[in-house]
């Protein structure tokens, strides 16, 4: 109880500190130095109408690379944590042969027919939409992450509707690795062909506002989108598999 009071007191103090922030906050009326530069120079320099994309992919490209890495390692980490090793199987007695049949048959009720049918109908569209989102990232709201997330939501659909469906680990791994690696390669090419690491101007900036413009941004977003999509799918897949253990 004392601890609870203590927590309450601490949070009250935190609230007081936050109040200090709020009380002294005034809304910006002009852009910050960085914002101003990006809004001013961004379109010319990089040829991307979507300033956020310009910032994300190029100006702060290293962040994005890091971000992709974060996602990659959290997927790897989840995989590592939820892996099935022989040792693990020994722990889980009653599941002598960790075969897929039991895993997938598991405790999940099969989805209703409506859901299955809807999924079959919607899935291609969802994936297509995801691709659209990341391919147009430099022009309109959206981008690699958003697109990837949409693709992963498609996977989610699939997993909900068809719990038995098998997602090829190999495919995921290859796509994941290759897209990530390609991203790095594109970044390195920036060093040789343009101003520096992750510079998008290794390719022609193209026509401002068209699909294949803004240098390598679409390319990068392609890789990012694929990578994010597949990684999120992999995470979902791993949680699903793990969840079928004995209860």
């Amino acid at each position: 109880m004392i601890k609870r009071i203590f927590i309450f007191a601490m949070l009250a103090l935190m609230a007081m500190i936050f109040f200090n922030l709020v009380a002294n906050y005034t809304e910006n009326t002009t852009l910050s130095k960085l914002g101003h530069y990006y809004a001013d120079k961004g379109p010319q320099e990089l040829g991307a109408p979507n300033l956020v994309t310009a910032v994300v992919v190029t100006y702060r490209g290293l962040d994005t690379l890091g971000e992709v890495t974060v996602l990659f390692i959290s997927a790897a980490g989840v995989g590592l944590l939820l892996r099935r090793t022989r040792r693990n199987q020994d722990d889980d007695k009653g599941l002598e042969q960790g075969d897929r049949a039991e895993e997938t048959a598991g405790v999940h009720k099969p989805a209703s027919e409506i859901v299955e049918t809807a999924t079959e109908l919607l899935l291609p569209m969802v994936v297509l939409f995801g691709v659209y989102v990341f391919m147009n990232g430099h022009l309109s709201p959206g981008g690699g992450f958003q697109g990837g997330a949409i693709i992963a939501s498609g996977t989610m659909f699939l997993l909900l509707a068809l719990p038995e469906s098998h997602i090829s680990r190999l495919m995921i791994a290859i796509t994941e690795s290759m897209s990530g690696f390609s991203y790095v390669v594109v970044g390195v090419l920036g060093v040789f062909l343009a101003g520096g690491f992750l510079d998008n101007r290794i390719m022609d900036l193209g026509t401002y506002g068209s699909l294949f413009s803004a240098g390598a941004i679409p390319l990068i977003y392609l890789f990012v989108g694929l990578k994010v999509g597949f990684e999120l799918s992999a995470v979902l897949d791993r949680f699903r598999k793990e969840d079928t253990g004995p209860v």
Partner: protein
């Protein structure tokens, strides 16, 4: 009515964000169930994202995408700061990554000890 409109929109988001942070912390500090703690974390994370977005707001600004509505020449005066938007994108992904790992931990902890109560995870101490 007047008062409400006088309050800048970003301030409302900021306050909500900070409030969400407090709620998230409350959840992390008081909820014994690990899953609930993770939810607390997510709340806190979301709160931070809201704060970030609110910081980037420029009075009367619009989305920083140059299109027909926002001509290049006038972009500087018309758009909100793109930087926090970019940052929040990154932050969201990172939050996601952490949440995923936390959940994976939760799964493993439950497997190993058959409980999700954080109070029972105190064997290493002093």
């Amino acid at each position: 009515m007047n008062m409400l409109t006088d309050i800048p929109i970003s301030l409302i988001v900021l306050c909500s964000g900070l409030g969400l942070i407090l709620i998230g912390m409350w959840g992390m500090l008081t909820q014994r169930n690990i899953i609930r703690m993770i939810i607390g974390f997510s709340l806190m994370d979301t709160g931070i994202h809201m704060v970030m977005v609110s910081i980037g707001y420029v009075t009367g600004g619009t989305a920083p995408i140059i299109n027909d509505a926002v001509p290049i020449a006038d972009a500087v005066n018309r758009v909100v700061d793109p930087v926090p938007s970019a940052l929040v994108l990154t932050a969201i992904v990172i939050g996601l990554g952490v949440t995923a790992v936390m959940l994976a931990f939760a799964v493993r902890i439950f497997k190993a000890r058959n409980t999700l109560n954080i109070d029972e995870c105190t064997e290493s101490k002093w």
